[in-house]
Every structure is written in structure tokens, then in C-alpha cells.
């Protein structure tokens, strides 16, 4: 069934609010989350109640805690702590020598720093995790706790002393590893500076002698003066790559470029089918052609269940054109894998969760106008034949979530924009658009001429014209006034920083946008979200390194707290296992969260589940998996997400780690450390020490 009506100007029907009130309320309340948070609240309440005296005695307990901490540090030291930095350096040195060869300076620094920091993190967490699990059980085994426990210390001081001592060891270790890292990277940077200076001098000489037609790169000069280690502070924009963004129209039009690798993503939060018979997706795309060809336009559609990407269907559809508007319909082969089904007899809801569609176009000269349904636009896609009882206003069709995304071609974590096609010079090149918003309150330094600095970090993928230097057209303007602004051709310094100056008048724009396109046929530009940067004063490398080390330190402190807590009642092998499980689950947080929210691996579709209802083995399996999923759900709310501790997030990209990121890591550590400490205290409070 193909539904098009004259009144296509349908406002977005399904908001998140709708789903919260109409769909999700049919699902069970997340009692496990409530139970988990309740448990933590009880734990903290019990801690405050029972540890009241011990907390009070902390006011003069610093000497005792430090004494215990110092002793723990000695224990760790004599367990060959000093060998860790030596092992680390040897491993890193071998890896650096063996692996890092023939890379561009920025990549070289990134890889070297990755090796150093990764090895630090692994060795530190491994060593201190073990020591944390061992320290209290070993005191019990060797009975030294009898002597120590007979002195005027509280159990809380004992725990804190252990945690502080191991934290001091972590700090010491990191310091021992940070200094060689800093020195090593400084030496590397010195070499990079020298190489850049020699290259710049050589290029300048060649240019003066007319051997070279292109002036030496500013980026090379910058690297020769500053190196590549400086922690850059900059404002980065929101990147949007679309076939083209035409800001002249209001709202701006976006195009899906035919024949390119661009993909349109359309998200549906949920699809409530009225029955599982023939629900479908309808597409409507105004088409702009850049040639007079009348070749039919084909789109490739992939339908994916977001929570379970195993469930997907692919189809190629031909758009039927009428007055430059192409339409097509797609009927899923197995709707139950994508559409939720509400069984009115049992009152059960079988919901496979959110669904997304990807759309790409194979026809080279066609540009499909993508609309998101906002501002009285017609959405590009509808889900049709839905349950009128569960859609707003009893409608039987549904638009996807607004702001559909268009992703360009991705390679090595970068996106590419396609330059002019040598075979079709009439086709406009792709545009990467970076929106910076209002910068009037952002401090951005200006040079003597009143210009601000923009850095471009671009790579070039040369499909043809390999011998030509890469050039880009940069256009900076206020989105509210797309016809104004400045245009500038830029010589792209490949795999290096391209610096350029822009007038400060642009900074007063309400919504600054910088567009970038390749102008050399066959040259595709590769970029990331941060490839266009409005520069602020850099921070020293050593400070940025210290911030990264602090992230590792905080991760170690959290792991140590968990280890010490586990060691309060468990023997060291079991404590080690518990801590390891915590750490592994914490590193698989996204996977575990997905498992918990989808109720397992979702191998069976909702429809298949309905058919199996009442079969005894299915019922038993459902019960067991239900219990396990609930436990998993509770665990998700209790366990720390260790992936949040990302020490390499900024430094390997020569970017200064913002202080709020560090504060967030600190807050995250304390948020989990406190309940872990409370649990440890309650476990050891009345424990017999001898």
C-alpha cells in the first residue's frame, strides 16, 4: 500500500514524549534500577549510621591513616614496585623502535603516546589491582593484622590507610613513568622540529629558485617552530557532511548525492504495528538532476533493528518520478523483526525496539533532497499501516525522528568529501560544513592585523591528478546571512596543519559556519570532527600529559578501592577474581547495558516468541533468562563504567584536555569509590581480625 495524500505537510507526529506516555508505559517499570539505587542509598545510610564514631575520630586520624598508608606503600615497594617502570620502559622502547617507522609527525606522536599511555595503564592497573586484592588477606594470613589491629586504629582508618597507600604507590609509579614519557616525547618532538625546519628551508630554497611552484607550507613552518606536542586549545564546530547544504533556502536544503558513498540514516524510536500484515515504509524524495539524463533513480535501503543489528533486511528500490518527485515503497519480509506488536488478548507488548533505515543512491547525476519533517517540510520517509491506538491522533503513518543524518564515506575513522569528478565536471563537489554557532563570548586571540587563526587538519585521498597539490575552497559566513562572509582558496598541507587567518568580523556572527570543499578534480579530502579549528592559546605538553596521567590515576584509585573492599572478607584469589570481573564488565559496559536493555541476545523475534508461548521449555527458559536479565539490569546500575577513563582521548590528538573532563572523571571516581568504601567498611566493621 502506497499512501500519498495532498496533505503531506504532516507535522511530526511522534515525539519522544509520545513514546514515553503511550508506548513505554505499557512496559514494566524498571524495578531493578530502583532496587539498585535503593541498595546504594541503604548502603550509604548504613555506613553513616554505623561509621559515625569512626568518622568522628577521623578528625585526628590523619597521622594514623598516613602511617598505615606509608606502611602499605613500603609493602608495595618491597613487592618490586620499582621494577614496573623499568619493565614498562623496556616494553615501550622495543615497541617504539619496532613499530613506529615512516609515519607522518602527527601520526608518529599519536602512536608513540598511545604505546606509552596504554602500557602505563595496563601495567599500573594490573599491578595495583593485584596488590589491592592481596594486601588485607595477606595481613590476615601473616597475622600482622593482630599486632596492627591491637593499636588504636579504627577499621575505617585501616581501609583508608590501605587505599591511600596504594594510591600513593599509583601516583609514584605514574610519576616514574610520566617523566621518561615526557623526556622521550621531547626528544621525538625535537627531531620532528628539526626535520620540519630542514624541509621548510629546502622548500623555500626550491621555491626561490623556481624549482618548486608552490610556496612552502605554513604548517611545516609552524611545526618547525612549535613542534607537534603542544596541547592545542581550540573551538571545533559541528561537522555536517551532506551532498550539499544549500543555506540560501530557509530551512537549508540537504542533498543525498547519487553515485557517492553517502548514506542517509533515518531513525524510528519504535514502530507500533496494528497487525503484522504488510506494514511498509514509503519514501519521497524531490530529485535534482545535474544532467539531462532520464535514467531512473535507484536507492538502496537497509532496515536494521538498532538493539539487535543481526536483524536487518536490504532492498534496492527504483523511485517512480512524477513532477521531479520520486516515490517508492518497501515492504519488510519479516515485519515482526522491526514492528512492535501488541497482543490485546494477553496484554503483552512485543517490541523489538528502535529501528533505523539507511538509504544510499546509486544514480550518479541525481541529488535527492532530504527533509526531516520540521518547519512544515514533508519527511523523506514514513512508516505506514501502524496501530492507530498507539500512534498520536489515531494516525496510521509515522515519520522518523527529526534531523536525519547523512554520513559520507568513512575510512580509518575519517570522513571524506569527494572533490570534483574529472569525468563529470558539471557535478558540484561535496561540502563539509562546520557550524560554530555564536562565538562572541568565546575568548579567541587575534593577531596584530585583527585576524584570528584557523587550523585545518586534512588528509588528501588523490584518486587522480596525483602530481597536483591539494587545494580547498574555504567559505566562512554567518548562517543567517549565507551570501556574506569570505571565501579563500587554501593550499592543503597534507597530513599536517594548514594554518590560515580570517578576519575577526566573522567572530561577531550569530552562527558562524565554515564550509570546505576540494577544488582539484579527483582529490578527496579526509577529515574528522575536529579538522577545522579556531585556535586558542596552546597549553604546555607536560600539563596535558599530567592530565592524562591523572585520568589513569583516578582509574587506578577506583580499582584499588574495589580490590581492597573485595579483600576485606575474601581470600586474595577470590578477591582478585571479583575485582577482575568488575573491571572486565566495566570495560564492556556498553555491551552489558545493551544486553540488559534488550533482555538478552534477542535471537527470537517478538513474533516467534509469541508462537512459542505456553511451551514448557520455552517458559522455563524465559523465566531463567528473565531472572538473569533482571540481575544484569541491576548490575548495570551498580557497576562503574571503566570506559569513561580515557586517558588518550585528547593528548594523542595534541588537544588539551579540558578541566571539566578531568573534574568529570574525578566525580565519576568518587561516585563509585564512596559506595565501595562504605561496603568495605560494613564488611570489615565487625569482622574478627584474628
Amino acid at each position: 500500500m502506497l499512501i500519498f495524500s495532498q496533505t503531506f505537510a504532516i507535522t511530526r507526529m511522534l515525539s519522544d514524549e509520545y513514546f514515553q506516555t503511550n508506548i513505554l508505559k505499557a512496559q514494566q517499570t524498571d524495578y531493578m534500577a530502583i532496587a539498585a539505587y535503593g541498595l546504594v542509598a541503604l548502603l550509604i545510610l548504613a555506613f553513616i549510621l554505623f561509621a559515625f564514631r569512626d568518622l568522628f575520630s577521623l578528625r585526628n586520624g590523619s597521622t594514623r591513616i598516613w602511617g598505615l598508608a606509608r606502611n602499605t606503600f613500603f609493602e608495595v615497594w618491597y613487592a618490586r614496585l620499582w621494577a614496573i617502570p623499568i619493565i614498562w620502559f623496556v616494553v615501550c622502547f622495543i615497541l617504539n623502535v619496532a613499530i613506529v617507522r615512516g609515519y607522518a609527525p602527527a601520526d608518529e606522536v599519536r602512536i608513540r603516546l598511545s604505546i606509552f599511555l596504554e602500557a602505563q595503564e595496563v601495567l599500573l592497573l594490573l599491578y595495583l589491582g593485584i596488590m589491592a586484592c592481596v594486601t588485607l588477606p595477606r595481613e590476615r594470613e601473616r597475622k600482622t593484622i593482630m599486632t596492627t589491629g591491637s593499636k588504636p586504629i579504627t577499621r575505617l582508618e585501616l581501609l583508608l590507610g590501605k587505599i591511600v597507600g596504594l594510591s600513593v604507590a599509583a601516583f609514584f609509579l605514574l610519576l616514574m613513568m610520566m617523566i621518561p614519557t615526557w623526556l622521550y616525547m621531547k626528544v621525538v618532538d625535537h627531531g620532528i622540529k628539526n626535520d620540519a625546519a630542514a624541509l621548510y628551508a629546502s622548500e623555500e630554497q626550491d621555491y626561490d629558485k623556481l624549482i618548486r611552484h608552490v610556496p612552502p607550507g605554513e604548517g611545516t613552518l609552524y611545526v618547525s617552530q612549535h613542534g607537534v606536542l603542544e596541547a592545542q586549545n581550540f573551538v571545533s564546530g559541528t561537522m555536517r557532511i551532506a551532498g550539499d547544504v544549500e543555506y540560501v533556502t530557509n530551512p537549508p536544503l540537504r542533498f543525498l548525492k547519487g553515485g557517492s558513498a553517502e548514506t542517509l540514516y533515518l531513525d524510528f524510536p519504535s514502530l507500533p504495528a496494528s497487525s503484522l500484515y504488510r506494514p511498509e515504509f514509503d519514501f519521497i524524495f524531490p530529485i535534482k538532476r545535474v544532467s539531462n539524463a532520464d535514467e531512473p533513480v535507484k536507492i538502496n535501503v537497509t532496515l536494521v533493528a538498532r538493539l539487535n543489528p543481526m536483524h536487518q533486511e536490504n532492498a534496492t528500490l527504483t523511485l517512480q518520478e512524477r513532477n521531479d518527485v520520486g516515490v517508492a515503497a518497501y515492504v519488510p519480509k519479516d515485519p515482526s523483526e522491526f514492528f512492535s506488536y501488541y497482543d490485546s488478548q494477553t496484554g503483552q507488548l512485543f517490541d523489538p525496539g528502535p529501528v533505523y533505515l539507511t538509504v544510499s543512491c546509486d544514480t550518479p547525476d541525481a541529488y535527492l533532497v532530504v527533509s526531516d519533517g520540521l518547519n512544515s517540510q514533508q519527511p523523506s520517509c514514513y512508516a505506514v499501516n501502524l496501530d492507530a491506538d498507539r500512534t498520536p491522533d489515531g494516525k496510521t503513518l509515522m515519520a522518523p525522528a527529526p534531523s536525519p543524518e547523512i554520513h559520507g564515506f568513512e575510512a580509518y575513522g575519517k570522513q571524506e568529501i569527494v572533490g570534483p569528478d574529472p569525468n563529470h565536471p558539471e557535478l558540484p563537489p561535496e561540502v563539509a560544513s562546520f557550524a560554530f554557532g555564536d562565538l562572541s563570548k568565546t575568548p579567541i586571540p587575534l593577531d596584530a592585523d585583527g585576524n584570528f587563526t584557523v587550523h585545518l587538519l586534512l588528509d588528501v585521498d588523490k584518486q587522480s591528478n596525483e602530481d597536483q597539490p591539494a587545494r580547498a575552497l574555504l567559505r566562512a559566513y554567518d548562517a543567517n546571512n549565507p551570501n556574506g562572509g569570505v571565501e579563500q582558496y587554501v593550499l592543503v598541507d597534507e597530513k599536517n596543519i594548514t594554518t590560515l587567518k580570517l578576519p575577526s568580523t566573522l567572530l561577531s556572527a550569530d552562527n558562524l559556519v565554515i564550509d570546505l570543499r576540494s577544488v582539484v578534480p579527483g582529490h578527496w579530502l579526509e577529515m574528522t570532527q575536529d579538522s577545522v579549528r579556531i585556535m586558542q592559546p596552546p597549553s604546555p605538553f607536560v600539563l596535558n600529559l599530567a592530565k592524562s596521567e591523572t585520568v589513569i590515576f583516578l582509574e587506578a584509585v577506583l580499582l584499588v578501592t574495589i580490590g581492597v573492599t573485595a579483600g576485606t572478607i575474601l581470600s586474595w584469589p577470590v578477591a582478585l577474581l571479583v575485582t577482575l570481573v568488575c573491571y572486565i564488565l566495566g570495560n564492556l559496559f556498553a555491551f552489558v547495558t545493551d544486553m540488559a536493555s534488550t533482555g538478552g541476545l534477542n535471537i527470537l523475534t517478538a513474533y516467534q516468541q509469541q508462537q512459542l508461548n505456553g511451551v514448557w521449555y520455552y517458559e522455563i527458559g524465559t523465566f531463567i533468562s528473565g531472572v538473569l536479565v533482571r540481575m544484569l539490569n541491576m548490575l548495570v546500575h551498580l557497576m562503574p563504567d571503566f570506559t569513561k577513563f580515557d586517558c588518550q582521548q585528547f593528548i594523542i590528538y595534541s588537544r588539551d584536555m579540558p578541566w571539566p573532563v578531568l573534574a568529570y572523571n574525578l566525580g565519576w571516581t568518587l561516585a563509585f569509590m564512596f559506595p565501595a568504601l562504605a561496603l568495605g567498611y560494613l564488611l570489615i566493621r565487625k569482622q574478627e581480625l584474628a
Binding site: R64, G67, T144, M146, S150, K686, L689
Partner: protein, 298 residues
């Protein structure tokens, strides 16, 4: 009711170690009621497994009683403030193997909130006090002999100048001279008004230094009282003299018989091996360099 004159007071103190799975529970202490006066040296006697160490652990709050209660220096056992006034010498020297002697004492001194000068003075004083050879002090305790470690453990027990010293087998691992020194030290502590709870199965130790004793067997108190009262044989008289000829000896025996004495034994007394050993070592030492240059020796 709390008696301020008592350093230790237990009422019906009971400890049962629960069994797990197939192992049976163990009744380590049964309804022990014990009063130890302040300033006394009190002996806790009994064979292995009689509940001596369990009693000490209960008094220190290291383990929890199954029933009954214990007051130490007028406060419940395990009270943090009270532990400031207690010194504890465990039956084995449970010390950190990776520290040397000054580091060990410094660590425990920190737990008593001593500041740096106090710690330094205490460490030097007590290492001298227990007679630890200065040559070994900087070595890690893991390399010490049992006797050397025992001295360090003793120093840690005395570090805070405690009012109550609890010693579990204090002479364990010491040579006879060391044992004698310990006993002398315990006597001196008693003279200084300290309360000492001495747990041992070395009866000679107790006999030499204790005022009162309690004898435990299988977790129950068998007998308690002043040592002099317990050991004195009130119907026996002992007479010792030098230069007694055989004739005089016969006359004394005859006189005793004539006056109704029975079970008369005469003979030459023997010195104890411990005394002989001590005399020999001390005479040798007089010709040697002193082991320590400052501080007091036991």
C-alpha cells in the same frame, strides 16, 4: 558495675568458633569471669588449647565474644581510646617482614599519633631498652632470628608506655638469658605500677614474676588466686643452712621426730640450671665489649 580499681574485668565471657559445613564448632572459652587489679602481674596459665590466646584476643577486641562481656581499663574491650593505653605482645612476632626495626617502631608510633620528635625518641629508646643489637637494626625483619624479632615485637608493645601490657608467651623463642631479662623487665613493669597480663604455659615464668594466676583448662577457669596462697604448703617447713655437719643434721632430724614432725627429708639443694646458665653467661660478658653504647639494658 564498673570497678575502677580493675584493669580487666570479664563476666561470663564465652567464645565459640562456629563450624562450617562438616567441621564442628569449637567452644574455646566458657563463661570466664576474671578480675585483674591494676598494678598487678597476673598470670594466665593453661596447656595448649585452653583458651589463653582467645581470652587475650577478646580483651583486645580482635575477635567478638559469643556471650558475656569484657571491660578493659573500665571500657568495653576493643575501645579505640582504651587501646592507646594497652601494649600487646602476641605469641609470635607478627611483624612486617619488609620493614627494619626502626621503621617498624616508627610505623606503630604513628598509630599512637606521636609526632616526629616523639617517634624518634621512642624508637631509639625502646630498641635500646629491649637490647636489639645496633648492627642488625637496619636489616629487614624478615632476616632476623626469632629472638631478634621477639625483641622488636616487645619494643612495639611497650612503645606507647602502656598502663596495661598483655603478653602472650613473652619468652617464646628467647635464649635463657633473654628469658631472664624479660622476666626482670616484667617485674620492673610491675614495680612501676603497670598491670601485666602474662599468658604462658612456661610455669617457671609465672612463678618468678606473677602475683596472681588463673589456670584455664579446655576453656574453663579451674583455679584462681594469689600465687603465694596457691603454692604455699602450709603444713611443711623448710630449713636451709651452710656448714651443717652430719652430726648436726642427725640431731636436727632427731629433734624434729621427737617433737612430732613427720615426712622428714634432708639433703643438699641444687641450683636451677637456668641460674647456672645465667651466672656463666654473665661472667663471660663482663670480659666483653658492651653490645649497646647507650640506653639501659634489661
Amino acid at each position: 558495675m564498673v570497678d575502677q580499681g580493675l584493669a580487666i574485668q570479664t563476666r561470663q565471657l564465652t567464645k565459640v568458633y562456629p563450624g562450617f559445613f562438616r567441621s564442628q564448632h569449637v567452644q574455646a572459652l566458657t563463661q570466664l569471669s576474671l578480675n585483674v587489679q591494676r598494678g598487678r602481674i597476673f598470670g594466665l596459665l593453661g596447656p595448649n588449647g585452653s583458651g589463653k590466646t582467645t581470652t587475650i584476643k577478646l580483651l583486645l577486641g580482635l575477635i567478638n565474644p559469643t556471650a558475656g562481656d569484657a571491660l578493659v581499663m573500665g571500657q568495653p574491650a576493643g575501645d579505640q581510646e582504651t587501646r592507646r593505653r594497652i601494649g600487646y605482645l602476641p605469641e609470635e612476632s607478627y611483624l612486617y617482614r619488609f620493614l627494619n626495626a626502626p621503621q617498624t617502631l616508627d610505623f606503630y608510633a604513628r598509630l599512637f599519633n606521636m609526632n616526629r620528635p616523639q617517634r624518634r625518641r621512642a624508637v631509639d629508646y625502646y630498641l635500646d631498652f629491649v637490647g636489639l643489637d645496633p648492627a642488625v637494626r637496619r636489616r629487614r625483619i624478615g632476616t632476623y632470628s626469632k629472638g631478634q624479632a621477639r625483641r622488636v615485637a616487645l619494643a612495639t608493645a611497650l612503645l606507647n608506655n602502656p598502663d596495661l601490657i598483655i603478653m602472650d608467651e613473652p619468652t617464646s623463642g628467647l635464649d635463657p638469658v633473654g628469658m631472664l631479662e624479660i622476666k626482670k623487665m616484667i617485674s620492673r613493669l610491675g614495680e612501676a605500677g603497670k598491670t601485666v597480663l602474662l599468658s604462658t604455659h612456661q610455669l617457671s615464668d609465672v612463678e618468678d614474676v606473677c602475683d596472681r594466676v588463673i589456670i584455664l583448662y579446655r576453656g574453663r577457669a579451674q583455679v584462681e588466686g594469689a600465687l603465694s596462697d596457691l603454692l604455699e604448703q602450709k603444713d611443711v617447713f623448710q630449713f636451709e643452712a651452710r656448714s651443717v655437719t652430719e652430726k648436726l643434721q642427725e640431731q636436727i632430724v632427731e629433734l624434729a621426730k621427737n617433737n612430732g614432725a613427720v615426712d622428714i627429708h634432708t639433703g643438699r639443694p641444687r641450683v636451677r640450671l637456668e641460674d647456672l646458665f645465667r651466672q656463666m653467661i654473665e661472667s663471660k660478658r663482663q670480659n666483653e665489649e658492651p653490645l649497646v653504647s647507650s640506653g639501659s639494658r634489661l
